[in-house]
Amino acid sequence: MAEVAIHANDVHEDVHPAPATSTGTTMGKVFMWLFLCQDALMFMGLFAAYLSVRIGAGSVWPSPNNHGTAEHYPLDINLTALNTFILICSSVTMVMAVQAAQFGKRKSILKWLALTMLGGAIFLGVQVYEYIHLITGDGMGMGKSLFDATFFSLTGFHGMHVFSGVMYLGAILIGTAMGYKEYKQTTITDWIFRAISVGLTLYFVINVLGSWKDGGWFLKYFMILPLALFPAYFIPVVGMVLFFWFGPFAGWPPIPHVAVSLVAGSLPYVMYRGIRWVRSRRDTPEIVEIVGLYWHFVDLIWIILFTLVYLL
């Protein structure tokens, strides 16, 4: 296994920039922008649904601006404004990481990426604190009211993006720190990480289904194997089986819990492959620019979300 690690502080001599296409830019950036467009449309749907119920409710809706509801407004605007500030800060550190990558300053990339991840992690921490406070303190919940449902689906969907962003940044950070390496098709490390992911998925799914009150025997003995062997790929198939077969016959199954188990279980292997992908590439500036686009998009969505959900 040929191993060429870069020990130099600066990477620019070893960087092979990605070629520009007829679009005037690189494939990676074009495709990240296309992905962000479809993601923006998804958020647009959620925002439009939220605005519809918000406008339909009018002055009955809990809002800091309505005289009837301002006193009982459950959301803490100051805390969330602080959170917005933290996310804006992490956007600035991200753009500094992109600049460091363009100048080929490796140590600088690592420093700014780590700070960006820290910002994202603090943001998530505050959001978890807020959720716990709202759910246990104020008795809010997904099915309690339209206000609660739109609040949790919008902020939760965005929080999921922040979580993916922190994982994405982590893969870039670790991959850049470890340096370039040539890989074979499949290595023993691949199998180790596959085993870890399969084991973890099994553990999660058995836990989830074990707590499902009745009708779980079929799942326990016949569904777990495909679930565990093909995490992520089988979500739609398994989801459909759960929905159409077990829905009517055995009580509604914990589909969201199974989906979360599959994603969480595949995480070690996905992260390993991500780091491996970063290490096998020499176009570091391009890779950092692309993760930067994603991270700024998450920040951009939060700026709009904060205004529409918290302040309106």
Binding site: P17, A20, T23, G24, T25, K29, V30, W33, L34, L36, C37, A40, L41, M44, A48, L51, S52, R54, I55, G56, A57, G58, S59, V60, P64, N65, I77, N78, A81, T84, F85, I88, C89, S91, V92, M94, V95, M96, V98, Q99, Q102, F103, P285, E289, G292, L293, H296, F297, D299, L300, I303, I304, F306, T307, L308, Y310, L311, L312
Partner: protein
């Protein structure tokens, strides 16, 4: 990077300052403007305009739409067309809501 990279640190810090100030202004307006006598319609338009300005700053400067190939701007702004069609169609319905906020 075909050409030599340029140092934009000063621009980034200016944008950071602008985002910070706009966020503070937004929170203050959102919490107190009604008690200063601003009508609800004005408040909503003001808040959404401020949010769009902030989002625009992030897209243009942090996401490098200003510095990158114009093709990326074409992709980036295309959802706005779809969004405006959706908002326009929904506005037809919103205008006839019994508790219309304006």
């Amino acid at each position: 990077m075909a050409h030599a990279p340029t140092n934009h640190t000063k621009t980034y810090l200016k944008i950071f300052g602008a985002l910070f100030v706009l966020t503070v202004v937004e929170v203050i307006i959102g919490m107190y403007a009604i008690s200063w006598g601003l009508p609800h319609a004005g408040l909503y338009i003001l808040l959404i305009a401020l949010a769009l300005v902030k989002a625009g700053l992030v897209a243009v400067y942090f996401m490098h739409l200003k510095y990158d190939a114009k093709f990326l701007s074409v992709i980036a702004y295309s959802p706005l067309a779809v969004a405006s069609i959706l908002i326009l169609l929904l506005a037809l319905e919103w205008a006839f809501q019994p508790h219309w906020i304006f």
